[in-house]
Amino acid sequence: MKTQYSRRGALSRLGGAIAGLLTLSAARTVKAAVQKVFVASGAPKDYDTTKHKWLMCIDVNKCIGCGLCVEACKKENGVPEGPYFRTWIERYVIPKPEPGSGQTRGETLVDSPNGGMHGFPPTPVPKDQIEHSFFVPKLCNLCEHSPCVQVCPVGATFDAPDGAVLIDPKYCIGCGFCIQACPYGCRFLSPVTKTAEKCTLCYHRITRGLKPACVEICPTQARIFGDLKNAGPDAPIRKFYENNRVSVLKPHLGTEPRLLYAGLDKEVR
């Protein structure tokens, strides 16, 4: 039998759909209001995002490659087991040039077994053939002009007013655009939540007046963390600026990172 369509029927169905939509949205608004009361109860209330500007500095000459920061980050943020890291340590081994090759140095070797969490195996080059070797801790570069934020199609990743680049796990659809866009490889797709994840600067810690877990745990104070808007003349970040010449990774990309390094070699990218 052929279905009969009538104007009256179509209009009433349309009206029903609009009424349903309105009821649904009203219910969502109420749910959000109720949630806000409960969710916000655990969050520090006296934190104003617009009154801070966070900055991280790393002194490469102080890093001993113990891997405590990587372990602390995994524990603090529940980062999944396996090759997923919000911060990790890279080991650079630059061998001496072969005699008569006419080069300044040999070919650089970089490795990071399990992010450096459990230390490093013996160097692939014997000790007497190494010209330079050092560790470089890596994490989110806190770009002023973040490529990862520009590509997000749903507004799930953003530059917070205090300088942290964050991900809204409820809005992320796991498309992976930001993972490809990040020039520093600081993002990954979590196999647990199926959303993109990255260093949040331990946002739940810094808003409570604590240091990020990696900074807290670093035994040599290779990582220095501070607030540019509230830094007195004796603040560690001011001292870091005074005592070092700083550089950033991949400056030619124009991302203007707020992760500053002291003592970088040109091989580090």
Partner: protein, 150 residues
Amino acid sequence: MRRFKLPPQILRLVLLTLAIVGSYLIARAFLTPASFGEFGWYRGEALVELRSRPPVYAGKQACDECHSDQLQKLAKFEHQTLSCEACHGVSREHADNPDVLPVKLTGSHCIRCHEANPSRPKWFKQIVVRDHYSGKCTECHVPHQPSQTP
């Protein structure tokens, strides 16, 4: 003079377009989260949600509340830059409730940092464990100030 009259098929199209655009605008107004656009093109509420998670590491300040005597001594020692939890392990539960004892230490903590490695900076004290001593580190070194003997 004949008055201009919009042809009925055009009128229907205009009304239909208005209805579609209007219902889109109404739906958007209701379905967009309240805090979207508070600071930028994202949910402002996400900032609150992200900072509501409790910290795992207690931090040196928390240790200072009860063990300030130890921390004052440590401030003069060689291991002054170390956080308590770097060696003593995650102690948040202990900080919240002193009856819960922190995780007991198990060897190899010294070697993790002090085993000789050509990639480590020259200023950092390193030993080749095989050539150094085969017993326990604490037989000759006080952990808080390694130059002292117990």
